[in-house]
Amino acid sequence: MLLIPCPWCGPRSEHEFGFGGEPAVRPQSSASDTEWADYLYMRTNPKGRNTELWCHSAGCGQWFVMERDTVTHAIHTTREMGA
């Protein structure tokens, strides 16, 4: 079980968090079908260090950014949105 350092609440149990996947930049509505499909469905899903969105849903309710290793599950950093 992961111990996740919420930027607002400190280390809390994984049970309290929701996973939001890799962040994707939302294209303009003028985007091509391909660009839009990439945004909707394509993720890098790397083996190793990855940047993800998480939400402390059963805590402060805040979304934040987490850098995590998908192999070792080590958590490198967490930071507020936009920080």
């Binding site: 992961l2 929701g18 939001g20 599950h73």
Partner: protein
Amino acid sequence: MTGTRLGSGGRIDRGQVIPFRWGDTVLQGFAGDTLASALLANGVRVVGRSFKYHRPRGIFAAGVEEPNAIVDVRIGDRHDANARASLVTLQHGIVARPIAGWPSVTRDAFAALDLLQRFLPAGFYYKTFMRPSWSRYEANIRRMAGLGRASHQPDMRQFETRNIQIDVLVVGAGPAGLAAARAAAASGRSVMLVDENPDFGGSLLWQDGTIDDRPAADWAAATTAELAAQGVTLLPATTAFGYYDHNTLGLMERRATAAPGWALDRLWCVTAGKVVLATGSLERPLVFPHNDRPGVMSAAAVLRYLRQYAVLVGRSVVITTNNDSAYATAAALRLAGAEVAVADVRTAPGQAAKDATALGVSVIPGSVVTDTGGRLGVRWADIGPADATSKKAATRRVSCSIVACSGGWTPVVHLFSQSGGKLRWDAAASAFLPGIGRQDHQLSGGMNGVTSLAECLASGHRAGIAASGATMLAAPRAEPAAVETPLQPFWFVRIPGARQWLDLQNDVTVKDVGLAARENFQSVEHLKRYTTLGMATDQGKTSNVNGIAVMAELTGRGIAETGTTTFRPPYAPVSLGGLAGSRHGLLYSPRRELPAHGEHLALGADMREYGGWMRPACYPRLDETTAAAIRREASAVRADAGLFDGSSLGKIEVCGPDAAAFLNLMYYNNVENLKPGRLRYVLLLREAGTVYDDGVIARLAADRYLLSPSSSHTAGVLAMLEQWRQTEYPAMHVAFHDVTAAWATFVVCGPRVRDIMASLAAEIDLSDAALPHMALADGHVLGVPARIARVSFTGERSYEVSVPAGYGPALWRHLLAQGPTPYGIESLSVLRAEKGYILIGTDTDGLTMPADLDMSGPLRAKKVDFVGRRSLTTPDGVRADRRQFVGLLPQDPNFVPPVGTHAVDASRKSLGWITTSAYSPTVGRSIALAMISGGRARIGDVVELFDRGRVSQAKVCAPVFHDPAGEKLHG
């Protein structure tokens, strides 16, 4: 009768006699016994039948690794269908019986299977029972093989869960673990020490040794008392079964007593700053022909039964070994008066053998047991040269009741491996040892390849210091170990065709591994699955290394190259009830009740769960069927008036200067131009353009909206709004608040609704000019603050009256007294189907887009981007053959085609399916709603319906069966 209890010695209390049942007999043991030691003390040899061949089996080991003694144990109303006898603490009221063997373990009707062993090689089931299908044979095979029978009664055991964080968690309370906990406790940090046995001390409880000038067992007791005094959390009889990410471990505690109302069994989820693994090692068997008879035991277990439980398992014992550790057993047995012969595969066994010989033990160097005999237990053993290739090579036959074996020691690296650590084969130790670890832990003692007592204490002490930063403490000291003669790897006897068991629980022999090797199932993962080696409930604790070594030899590879399987939780079986804890029944998920719950019960409502809410399905009268009640209620709404509890409908307040702009970016429909006091039916899409939810949005003021998502989506909609506000539009000033539980909401509808509303003395103008359809107003009814909205889910003129939740029951009673018919959600479902109003998640699925519902108007009118907009114009979004929402009129007006019935084309290819169907009392016939490929173009066509072989016809129509012009809304 072979096993006997000695008159003195052991850690049992002879003053406390404990009677217990074993099958049909009543036996006696003492406090301090396990079920296994008590059975052995009573001379019981056969405790079960083997899984595949139904051969008689006896107790092999003394701990968690026991492969044979899996028994059914009842204590009062507690039942464990697959208990390991060696882990069951003997207590009053135990009723135990073997789980296999019919009619009894000593006379097993299926024993003839053993005669067919030649025809039952590894993979036999895969190869034989494939045609026509495995499912034809499965039930019978399972009946014959099976483990314990689960009870059909509810599990009366209670479980609870504890979550805890601790600085240092020490797993294992043998010499290394005790030394580690002692050192860590000196640091002042919080420390927890767990061990699967009821008493701390591990091997100190049954092996020789002196620590700090005290007998080892006394040192263990004193150290345990010291740790308790220092506030260390001590958890005996607790198995650490899983090592998960971030130093989280799962522990299952089995308590003998608990305060009233508290559970005996507790699951501990422990997150530790540092973990010390001191999990020790398990003796592995030396493999030889017919090594599965009752009476073949682990040499270390024989010693433990003798020392800890004062049970002499036999008076005449043959020991077969490849290492020095078995000589401790030989010496102890000899001192207890047994005749002992040792077959040692090493040609020069060294000092340990000399010491044993001096005690009168007969040592035969360079030899091994080449065969055993005895139908229900060992009666003799043949001893022959270690390189024997034929049973005829045996040089002597020894009468004996026990063959004790030792093939070396297997470090318990399971938790280390589960934590992500890599293992390496160490040829000198002849064992898989921890390699590179991944988590924050210290390794110590036997699990890390340490063998002597002195080194175990020292390595435990070092681990405790490293895990806690403790200083200024002297390590416990024991005399240095005598010089050992190295172990000589010996994996099986080279007698072709001899039956030599590797996995006793799953009946896997050397021959089976040979077959796997010949058929090219040579990787350890294939070996395991093909032969089932190590896949029984003991997870191969005594068999894995031997099996891998045999495969390595047969394929001419090294053991390191052959490799090992990955260990996964649980280390030992964990009951499902234990994992669930108290999360079952009413505590499984919160069950929400309506404010007027009691009123519905008083009316005899059929209460059911809908999306977490307990809601009336309908209100059947005495002797009325559900179907009849639904027809009566639905008809009353159309003909007279109805009353419905809509309190579970979601209510989310959205406020802030950017509320209008934000909601306009979220919803499919334009909500910015909505006037205060007005309502609009809206859709919320996912980014993929599919419909996530529908609902009604009300504008309360310029900067304030009230959303009514569907009952089961309220939390999801709220979470979605929050996610978009935080991650996509962080600059917008808008906030959300779920006020669902604050309001009781009742819907009054039908032709007579205005009379009923008049009775409310509403200080709200209810005229159609002031409050038209899709409008709302605040004020008072019956002197209570209220909000009245005109919105309809039935197609009838409808008023939604909301009051603070506490006034709900009183308002319900008042409204009911005006004579409307209360109707439930099932009746509403018929009414909304008659009108073709969709129910999200029922009529729609994860692929449905607004245009499929014929709701493409808002897309043309709306200018701003909103969630999912771009997806609506992708090639998939504009496909001509998309499934569209239509109505169906079955040709047979009395036949209601079930939901899920497919509409098919001439070639029986599916065009889509029915999503809602009902008998409509209003129309007087069956009706259905469906999602049909290109459905709107098929209106007027007749399609074929197909459901589980039944074929019928229906006419495609627009999805509305009653009042298509919507005049009743205003009637």
